[in-house]
Symmetry: C2
């Protein structure tokens, strides 16, 4: 997988640790030293030294019986601490809860990170006992080009930003509805930007439909997006047009206002750069 601007002098240890974490992330029930050292391509001794250092600080832990290595709880600690440091999340949460209650569907809060849409909060509706539930998780990533929230966020990127993203991540075909043509995507993003909401019409996963709206900060930057997601059978196109679209936009606007955004959504593009690049 391609990444953005690779530094020419990466610290070797950090690169190795990142690889180790990634391998462990795929090993739900822990991994032995032998297997891990094979997978990351390091001698056992070297891998062991890294692991015991990581274990000392709590970033990995070793099961006392099986000797298998697992990710450590320090990661949970730091990850959740980071989420709490995000003012955005704290401020958005009550609105998400309200929206979820009103629509009786799962609501997500998403930011763009490393050119992917990253879930930073999730509110599930309690009122769907036994019903279908979209599988998602805080910390999960989805491609930007085939999710409502992703499209919203990149719709407010610069032309260059979008090109870079396409170059780095590509436009993988996830379903038959996925937009995979760069030009079609750019046209679509223009519409998304102008209409102030986006729909994921089973573009990422067959059977899942979403509708989302962008959140703007004080500077008018689209820093996040929210969406309502669920099974396409329940989230019908009709329901989106008649009800959900309106609700998600309303909520997103309320959150934006909470963050200090003052511009009206009705006049997009106008009166926007009052602070950005305006030397007299």
């Amino acid at each position: 997988m391609l990444r953005e601007e690779k530094p020419n002098n990466l610290v070797q240890t950090i690169e190795r640790v990142a690889t180790i974490f990634d391998v462990m992330a795929q090993s739900a029930h822990g991994i032995s030293l032998k297997e891990l050292s094979a997978k990351v391509g390091l001698p056992k001794g070297t891998a062991h030294r890294l692991l015991s250092s990581l274990a000392y600080f709590g970033y990995v832990r070793q099961a006392s019986e099986s000797k298998n290595y697992h990710l450590g709880f320090k990661l949970v600690e730091l990850g959740n601490l980071l989420l709490d440091q995000l003012d955005l999340r704290a401020q958005a949460r009550p609105f998400l809860i309200k929206l979820s209650k009103k629509t009786k569907e799962t609501v997500h809060l998403v930011v763009l990170d490393q050119n992917e849409a990253l879930y930073i909060d999730k509110v599930v509706s309690n009122d769907k006992p036994g019903g279908l539930q979209m599988v998602s998780r805080v910390g999960l990533r989805v491609p930007a080009h085939c999710s409502a929230v992703g499209k919203l966020l990149i719709a407010h990127l610069s032309e260059k930003g979008v090109n870079d993203l396409i170059l780095l991540k590509g436009l993988s075909q996830r379903t038959r509805n996925t937009i995979t043509d760069p030009d079609r995507l750019k046209t679509h993003l223009k519409i998304v930007r102008e209409q102030g909401y986006a729909i994921d019409n089973e573009e990422n996963e067959k059977g899942i439909r979403c509708v989302g709206a962008p959140i703007f900060d004080q500077q008018g930057q689209a820093i996040a997006a929210i969406s309502i997601s669920g099974p396409a059978a329940r989230i019908t196109k009709q329901l989106v047009q008649n009800f959900l679209k309106k609700e998600v936009i309303k909520t997103a606007q309320a959150i934006s206002r909470e963050l200090g955004y003052t511009d009206t959504i009705q006049t997009p593009g106008i009166n926007k750069n009052f602070k950005k690049g305006g030397e007299p």
Copy 2:
């Protein structure tokens, strides 16, 4: 702070990265390179090299305008993935929700990690609008000796385990109710172990009272604990004795059964070591 068995050949980079993360964790609004390098005691150049390597893999991120460094979302990703890898958490969750609904209070799931009680799940009651809410967070740690859940977990440790914990962490006085005498603690733990539940009677934080019960796995090990927590004014001693204690024990037993624990709680200590240390 003292730690368990320090390896003699820690990898320097990992030690430095751990320090950097800890400093960042305390910097809610990001930290400048200058400030960070000063705090961790590294030359700017060195700190910068580590940071840019970490940033490349998403473990830190740099705010585009302020240039300040923040913890990166990769930590969220790994942390939440780890939580999902824990069978315990998935299996316990429905029981926690039920317990929270029934008692209308906040319920926590906790494990022992590095001699501290670590919250790995939290279910808040929705039925307390505007009411008091205990501040807690998944990933947060509390000392073991002054929390209901912590006492439960160390009550099932070996004598040596408890001694090590006391040596490493000490028994800090958090409130006037905190048990700070090693012998008194050991006596108390014996009672906790025998009665099958524990109470935190404002021992960690004035005004907060908790009652908890242990969760046993198939091997009869106390691998986790659950608790009901809330303001002492609401969680009265009476309510604990008449209602909450019973409910939390019942729920903990149900989860233990779910995990394959078969021994009856009524006969603690008896018929326990059928698999642990039984050479013929």
